[in-house]
Symmetry: none
Subunit: 197 residues, 4 copies
DNA sequence: TGCTAATCGAGACGGTACGTCTAGTCTTTTT
DNA sequence: AAAAAGACTAGACGTACCGTCTCGATTAGCA
């Protein structure tokens, strides 16, 4: 999140200037953190990055594209591999919530979801991204399946969907501070059900 | 969604004119349906309702407040009571998805969630509303508990949270067309777990 | 400029309430003094007078009418009668400038002239008022004529017009602080001309 | 006052587009002529000029600035030089009254004076402009002084002030149709005085 | 004495304009 | 060819006032 160089950037010839791209992405992140999605405008980003608006529009056709790239620049959430499905899922959610809470990622992803509600391209981008992540999350399930922890015929994608849904909703409603016990209980319900037996 | 009377509405004294309120709410709904959240502006609502902007701002301090009231005007989703938790939950989700898909409610609620990402008051309003709905959904669980279908110590609110999360995510990602089988499978995971036993 | 009574004024039957009229005129004057013509709105007057807007519109059909009455409530400018035309005119202008400078009259009259540039009725009202005042000012000239100070065939109205013009322009350009010497010189030009003889 | 080209104006790079400036000034003049000062709003000008409001505000910080430039675009009034002060002054007033009466200049200047009564910046602009014009008018007097027509010690600026005052007042009270005889009489008073001798 | 009629404060109404902000496009100049 | 710079049209933002309207309360004068 370092500031752009003092001297104004100039064109470096007939090709994309990576300094500008960086400055824009960093400015976008900073604007989002400082002013929130409400204050996130291309104008504001251009102002902060000392870039021209057309430079932004040339490389990112929409706010969504910019948001998506900012999000993807953020560090990945670690996916634990403890050998037990419970702990993997709880650990994953803990990491994810922490990541969303303590870095700019939460703001960025929230904004991306919000943007997707009014911008078709954002919706598509989000759908694509989510699909990728779901398969990613699905790995935890698949590993458990390989270990024989999962009943036959379980749809890993559907389980991943449920877990992701829970995470999304807590992100969107500012409830990223759930304690581990609650996460563990939730995972328990999912693994062992809630029915009396 | 009937059009307002031809004659211009006037003041009816030093108190709110319900005709104007109705016209504004209907216009808000119509704008949202026709132009989506992207085209949902106070100006557009005022234009369509043949109302002055100050009349809108007088009674609804923010877009969020207007959205919330539009959503609450929508008919309630029926909460089934079949005597079996599976069927209740599947039926509830089916009804909810149908309601969101086939009426304006889906657009409205999506917009409300999006708005809550940039507007503090919308976030509060949404939190309040969601709390109310969650306890509502929790009733299904509580009824099941009363029938002895639920294991001891299950947190009904947490289960309701999971179900609502699933619904929200499908709303936000334009996936309200899940077939009953998928819903049933999902509910099955929740009730009986996914672990091998 | 005493404040209205604490208790709210009510109707006193099917006739004009002089208390309200007074309160409105005083409020109009106060608003004009404190906020200038730019801040002079019927709303502001109604607010300050604790009066309903229709009460104002009922009795004064336009801002101009209100301004005119406020101006006419102001104390008259003394027209001196020293027996010498020079001193009468200089004294009159001194009194007028002082009156405009030190009371609210200046603001009010300026506003009236400004209003007359966009409001036909204000223009008419102003024309009528100015005619009355001109004949008034003309008296100074006529008295001088009676004393034989004036050459034969002089058009008193035209002279009054010139004097009033000078006063207006100084009012409109915030130059009401001319010293007596300048006024005396100006009057001297008018009385004895500027040609070399 | 030709209409703007059919095709929408675009930016011509990072500098002011003179086509837009022209269109705005012409529109301002047209609005003033057609709707008067009462109907003269930035919105109306922008609408008529097919310009964005920010484009207007970017170059003219206030209505006053716009009015002033519109006025200055108007053709200059010819200042006659007949060799006789009487004729010069009468001719100048005749030209000025004609100019104000028959072109849009009258409306514009009236509006400017009105605006100056509520807008500080307009007052300043007007003061600056008037100073320039007064020295301009003073030239007539100075020429006469050079010819020896004027008595010693006469303050040319003060005379110019008187003449301008007369013109202003007639503009502001819709009395621009004075016949030449009246003007000549007025100038006569100023040159030769009104006292009996 | 009870009724009528006009007045009062109050404030909502549909509108228009304000001055600012952003969107997304455009062109010029510089590298 | 791509960069910055910033102007361009367009239109939404939330607020202030406009002039009109309807209300409920008030009170004088007429019946």
């Amino acid at each position: 999140m370092a500031e752009a160089a003092e001297t104004a950037r100039k064109s470096i010839g007939a090709r994309r200037n990576p300094q500008s791209a960086d400055a824009i992405l960093e400015a976008a992140e900073a604007v989002l953190v400082e002013a929130g999605y409400a204050g996130f405008s291309i104008e504001a980003v251009a102002r902060r990055a000392r870039a021209g608006k057309p430079t932004i529009y040339r490389w990112w056709p929409s706010k969504a594209a910019l948001l998506l790239e900012v999000y993807q620049r953020g560090k990945r959430v670690e996916v634990p591999d403890t050998g037990k499905l419970d702990d993997d899922l709880v650990g994953f959610l803990k990491n994810l919530f922490f990541h969303w809470r303590e870095t700019s990622s939460g703001s960025v992803f929230r904004s991306l979801i919000a943007e997707a509600q009014s911008d078709e391209s954002a919706a598509l981008a989000l759908a694509g991204y989510a699909a990728g992540r779901r398969s990613h999350t699905g790995e935890i399930i698949e590993r458990a399946r390989a270990r024989g922890e999962i009943a036959a015929g379980i749809d890993a994608a559907l389980v991943a969907d449920l877990v992701a849904s829970y995470a999304w909703r807590h992100l969107l409603t500012n409830q990223l501070d759930e304690d581990e016990a609650t996460l563990r209980r939730m995972v328990g319900y999912l693994l062992r059900g809630i029915e009396a037996r």
